[in-house]
Symmetry: C2
Subunit: 390 residues, 2 copies
């Protein structure tokens, strides 16, 4: 059977899937989960998987194998969904707002061990007022800023101890420890920078916890995490848990950072070729930014992958070195990376391609479910739902 | 009541909405719809609104007032949904793929007047084979390329007449005319360029239809459209319908093109302030790229609006000239455009802000519904659902 015919017909698994569609390769997923699980076990630290990438109980169940069972979420909707699926211990790792307190309190009343995070005296007041109104206790972690990336107080700041005093001086809020996320690790450009960032994340969190304990506060939880720092950490002494999410699927940004190989990317978008522009060497597909997301995370990396690398339908990188060079809402334009002419007969109208995502969190968020395949046998295994929105 | 207190408490309409949330101002929407409706009536051409921006029957019903009733869609899921809501005449304005033919045929069998588009002999074969298999006729428009932007055949090409001959030479496919979309109008940088692009779109479509008719083919439909070209068109002679979608909501990209004013943007994202980084002059909100989208469409315009312009909760542009300077998944960083220090006490933790979107289609797609308000009375009017996905 010629290559062209394979591309046109596609494997059985894809015959019935209307494109564009999100494809998850379970073999690669399981390999990624095993690698991170093994690495963190070797470092003697628990894994609290971040659900924000997968947003699927099916994926999280696999990620939780051999772990304590707690997860991290980025929305209360995720908390609601995963609690409904039997997950009891949930860290909501985004600062809280007054308008969400009734929802958070309702989860706690129903038995969810929901922890919140904060980094300001105003947030403590919001929680204390909500506690009085809702008659629940809110366990919290103080958010730390270890890299100037986003939110949090400095681990060595007076503000850290002031927050702890304000919490213990009032009622309704229970201090459980500290958390941080070295988001700036995405800007690292070498393994030594990544190792240094991992140590900075660990050292900042441990310093803050130590200062709290020295001042007489309880800080049983020392929580850190980002996929790049977790991958390159060589010592996590003093850390009690690591929060990671992207490692499950990986993506081109992670590959660009050296966190994974292209072959470790479990997620792709199945698209159909719907036309050609022969003079320009373009393949037009039905995979636009709606299906791929607008994320251009590799544009600031040494190798810009456009809107994604093109695979054939069986998952092999196209021999023509194709990338998605531009997108509209429901159209993707695929061309050779070097701009040279393309043998379009290899990619006939009606054939299928798969696109590897720049950013797994962003691409997956454009879809309501995963079409799960098994790369070795290449059969459709299952459809797994996602919980999107707020 | 001081400005600060207004910001903290927010109007009644927003007290119960968990952030981030999509807000649609019905007064502005109605004004935008009236303006385009009036303009196209004056030019003597029908409006076939594009549902891809709003994806809501409530919005489309308003847009269809006084029009023939046909709509444009970007997915078969939209077609399915709007047909279920009573819309009979639907143009699916994205090239078809074999894997979608059963779905398209099922809609036609149920009575939907679904038209498809094509620009290749391969697509004609796909439709003819599907027609034989599914026992339905497929009405089609030939897609034209008037601006080198994406798909389509040249209006003056031999390929145009070859396609028409291939359609009439076989069975199962009925030629209804031509369509084009001058997507490159988004790159125009002056009103004269926009007027010229509108005329290029019109002239190309009319030339193609005339050539088809001269060669003995039926071409009753001459369909053009993009919000920028429709807005600046001064003559649409020979055109039978205009397809536009973004004009309903408008956005910062449209404002940057001169298509609308900032005050004409009907869509915004309601967010909560969840923290500050005083030293950096940052307000941290819960409106990240998941709520705003990753679209950075203004980055190539003369004024880069970051991830969006910041309004107070009542809809006035912030006096501090704030923009969303960066985003993570569920975090937005708001700062002064000029980078100068910010009076953070004006934006306390727990207060609400609204963010105007770069690209209405992309931002709205991140949400499952609209929280509809009425800007004059500032009351919550309704919740309107969207139909996302494929």
């Amino acid at each position: 059977m010629s290559k062209m015919i394979q591309l046109r017909d596609g494997p059985e698994a894809f015959r019935e899937i209307e494109t564009p569609a999100l494809v998850l390769d379970r073999r690669i997923l399981e390999r990624n989960l095993a690698r991170m699980g093994h690495h963190l076990r070797r470092l003697g630290v628990a894994l609290r998987p971040h659900a924000k990438t997968a947003k699927s109980i099916d994926v999280l169940r696999l990620a939780l194998a051999g772990q304590p069972g707690g997860i991290t979420v980025s929305t209360l909707r995720e908390a609601e969904y995963f609690f409904g699926q039997g997950v009891q211990d949930i860290l909501y790792a985004v600062g809280i707002a007054p308008v969400k307190m009734a929802h958070a309190a309702a989860l706690i009343r129903r038995g969810c061990r929901l922890s919140l995070i904060l980094d300001s005296p105003e947030a403590i007041s919001i929680l204390q007022q909500a506690s009085a109104r809702e008659q629940v206790q809110f366990p919290v972690l103080i958010e730390l800023d270890v890299d100037g990336h986003r939110a949090g107080v400095q681990p060595d700041s007076a503000a850290l101890l002031e927050l702890a005093r304000a919490i213990s001086g009032g009622s309704g809020v229970e201090l459980r420890g500290v958390m941080t996320h070295a988001g700036d690790s995405y800007q690292c450009r070498s393994q030594s920078q990544l190792r240094a960032m991992a140590e900075r994340e660990r050292a900042g969190a441990v310093l803050a916890a130590t200062r709290l304990r020295t001042a007489g506060h309880a800080a049983p939880v020392v929580s850190v995490g980002s996929t790049p720092t977790a991958t390159f950490a060589t010592d996590l002494s003093g850390v009690t848990e690591v929060r990671v999410g992207v490692y499950m699927f990986n993506d081109l940004v992670m590959a660009g950072l050296g966190v994974c190989a292209i072959a470790d990317i479990a997620l792709s978008v199945l698209v159909s070729v719907i036309g050609h522009q022969a003079e320009r060497g373009w393949i037009i597909t039905d995979g636009g930014w709606m299906a791929l997301s607008r994320d251009r995370g590799t544009s600031s990396q040494p190798v810009d992958q456009g809107y994604g690398i093109v695979l054939d339908v069986e998952g092999s990188v196209s021999p023509d070195d194709l990338v998605v060079v531009s997108t509209n809402q429901e159209h993707g334009i695929v061309a050779r990376r070097d701009g040279k002419p393309l043998p379009l007969t290899r990619y006939p109208v009606g054939s299928s391609l798969r696109i590897l995502p720049n950013h797994a969190c962003a691409t997956a968020a454009q879809h309501s479910c995963y079409h799960v395949i098994d790369s070795d046998r290449f059969e459709s295994v299952a459809t797994w739902r996602r919980v999107n929105g707020w």
